[in-house]
Symmetry: C2
Subunit: 236 residues, 2 copies
């Protein structure tokens, strides 16, 4: 089974959710990513505070952190709205992902120790097995893919990079994937790409790992853009 790092500590990298606003953050991140709080909808502080049985203080703290990961947008004295998904937003997001995750790969090739690389290989083997069992079902693959990316990012050992990708950008990435229902024939191809990236990291070839990761993400973007066009046409 995939470890699904995203669900174990998410934005609270390394520490447990001790405070009310911690729990609120997790819950609201999930609700937004999964569309329970619809994209573009207004966030009413009194309403949500009642719903979650907390006062507005921890709620506002959680909202400040939601703004940090680009899941909501706030306007002073006017309120907050859940972000809207768009083709432009996706492109802007993935431009940065390509760059930063490419860097992460290069650094991971330098900084991951043998044990971590071995764990990464084991993770991929697990995914391969579970994927064969659940042919066509996309959730595990997607979670596994994110898990894979998470580990490489952590392997870079660059705290700013880790923070920016895992804490700030990845929730949006997940939101695009979940709400646009990423799936299709890319699933099996992604495995091969992951394998190639691990090999490059294991042989300490940062330049190659960088290149492969950029291509991997570019391919993923192409796949989602296709979906976005389809959705766009439905609304015409």
């Amino acid at each position: 089974m995939s470890t699904i790092i995203g669900e174990t500590f998410q934005s609270l990298l390394g520490r447990l959710p001790v405070t009310s606003s911690d729990r609120l953050l997790l819950e609201m991140q999930r609700a937004i990513v999964e569309g329970e709080l619809p994209a573009g909808s207004k966030i009413s502080e009194p309403e949500l505070a009642r719903k979650f049985n907390v006062s507005r203080a921890p709620l506002r703290e959680a909202m400040a952190r939601l703004e940090r990961c680009h899941l909501i947008e706030r306007i002073p004295n006017a309120g907050a709205r859940v972000v809207k998904l768009s083709a432009e937003g996706l492109q802007a997001l993935y431009q940065i992902r390509e760059e930063l995750e490419g860097l992460a790969c290069r650094l991971a090739a330098e900084n991951m120790d043998e044990h971590e690389i071995e764990q990464l290989r084991a993770l991929l083997d697990q995914h391969l097995k579970s994927q064969r069992v659940r042919e066509g079902e996309s959730y595990y693959q997607e979670a596994g893919d994110l898990d894979f990316h998470y580990r490489i990012i952590l392997g870079s050992k660059n705290p700013y990079l880790i923070n920016m990708l895992c804490d700030e950008l990845y929730f949006l990435v997940r939101m695009y994937r979940v709400q646009l229902g990423m799936n299709g024939p890319r699933v099996s191809r992604a495995f091969d790409e992951h394998k190639a990236i691990i090999n490059a990291i294991a042989s300490r070839d940062g330049e190659l790992a960088d290149l492969l990761m950029r291509r991997h993400i570019a391919a993923s973007r192409g796949n989602i853009e296709l979906k976005l066009q389809q959705v766009g046409k439905q609304h015409d």
Copy 2:
């Protein structure tokens, strides 16, 4: 005179500081960058709230945003401290800067319109004049350099990129520069590098602009690392 974009809207890109926490944020960003709140020192909420004549609510909101731009670090139930500067932190920060500002250059070469490029040239001319007048005085050059970088980042037209660089990372960059007293013979060389970058952007050569910017930042990092080593030796 340089426009010093950083002082006009900073983290509040585009809007005015309307609320108490907005003003607090600006004030504390300045205080931390300039070392008035010393690196590594603990932040006492009651004390600062008294000092600024506000309640803890807007102060905590400002602190949440300070954490976002990596100027303070918070531990739940334990408090917040101003970040410490270190050689490792600088390296990690500049690794990301190289990557993201390289991307910004590539996008700026695609997306800046002729008018914006013309303004950028005019800015550089201004810096050249003011530098000759104030030979050796580093502040204007440094502010000018940041201003130059700001404009290119904005020229990328990528909102996430703009947010990450201008809102999150640049305060730390400024903190390193201010507290380590960036100056020296690099000042005049930086001009030539800026000029070359503009030319690449003007001729719509994104790839070259990317490369030149990476080198420019790498050179800048080398300069600061030198300073850091000197400071380190003083403490031994």
